[in-house]
């Protein structure tokens, strides 16, 4: 009986309290503003239990915006390694999905998936806050 209940409780807790870490991997700041607008009274993601944490050690979901540049690649990997398991990566915006309008530039590696395993892609330039909420809700539906 214990074996059945404990994973259920953990799944519930993880679904109800995703804490975000926001990291700009070299984008134009458009998606960052859309992410911050999630915290405003209009979209208020705290009703899903989402908090925006500043330390990678506290966070569950890494939200990346922008294409991965050569400069930021080691930092991105390091921040990902600093996060405790279980952790998820969310690529927000067209640039972080594929490199977008920057793809092919000499300093751009491409999307986030060139460096990290991405769990959910959200396209758009910049993506709507509704699309980000959709993405997070879809991601939490996949948890375990």
């Amino acid at each position: 009986m214990n074996k059945a209940i404990i994973p259920k409780v953990l799944r519930w807790a993880r679904q109800k309290s995703p804490w975000l870490l926001h990291f700009n991997t070299g984008g134009c700041n458009g998606c960052d503003i859309e992410i911050l607008s999630l915290l405003t009274p209009r979209y208020d993601v705290e009703r899903f239990g989402i908090l925006k944490e500043s330390s990678p050690r506290h966070a569950d979901i890494l939200i990346c915006t922008g294409p991965v540049t050569q400069q930021v690649k080691p930092r991105l990997q390091r921040i990902y390694d600093q996060m405790p398991e279980p952790k998820w990566v969310l690529a927000v915006g067209s640039c972080s999905c594929s490199g977008g309008i920057f793809s092919g530039a000499y300093n751009i590696l491409g999307g986030i998936d060139k460096v990290l395993p991405v769990d959910m892609y959200i396209a758009g330039c910049p993506c709507r806050p509704e699309a980000i909420i959709d993405g997070i809700v879809k991601l939490l539906g996949q948890v375990k």
């Binding site: 209009r42 999905c97 396209a123 980000i132």
Partner: protein
């Protein structure tokens, strides 16, 4: 004296405001339950009127993000492909199109766990004769 009074008043400046907000309706839209209406001029996803498309490739040439691709076999047999994960929603294709075939509407793009979902064939004329 007046200065000190102003300073003391500044300590309680926001108090009436927060009490007013506390007893008013929250600004939040309950998003996944209630859909949010976007303005008509918002540039979201690309739509196409496939009857108008002649496969000229102007939009493909002008797209700054290489989000459109044209696979042309002959004059009347071609595929127009859109990669949503590249698209910057800039509207250049709408400006470039001479036949009023391609346009952007105000629906936004949905999230997906797989990038293959962002691949979309806009016009497929290859099977037609």
């Amino acid at each position: 004296m007046n200065n000190i009074l102003l300073k003391i008043r500044s300590f309680f400046y926001l108090l009436p405001n927060i009490v007013e907000v506390l007893f008013s309706k929250p600004e939040t839209i309950d998003y996944p339950a209630v859909s949010n209406k976007l303005s008509a001029s918002y540039r979201g996803s690309i739509r196409i009127i496939s009857e108008n498309c002649v496969g000229c490739g102007l939009c493909v040439r002008d797209c700054p993000a290489q989000a459109l691709a044209l696979e042309k076999e002959s004059k009347h047999s071609f595929r127009l492909i859109h990669y949503r994960d590249h698209c910057a929603s800039c509207g250049q294709c709408e400006m470039s199109c001479k036949f009023n075939s391609i346009y952007l509407d105000n629906s936004y793009k949905e999230a997906s766990a797989d990038r293959k979902d962002f691949f979309k064939v806009l016009v497929d004329n290859t099977n037609k004769k």
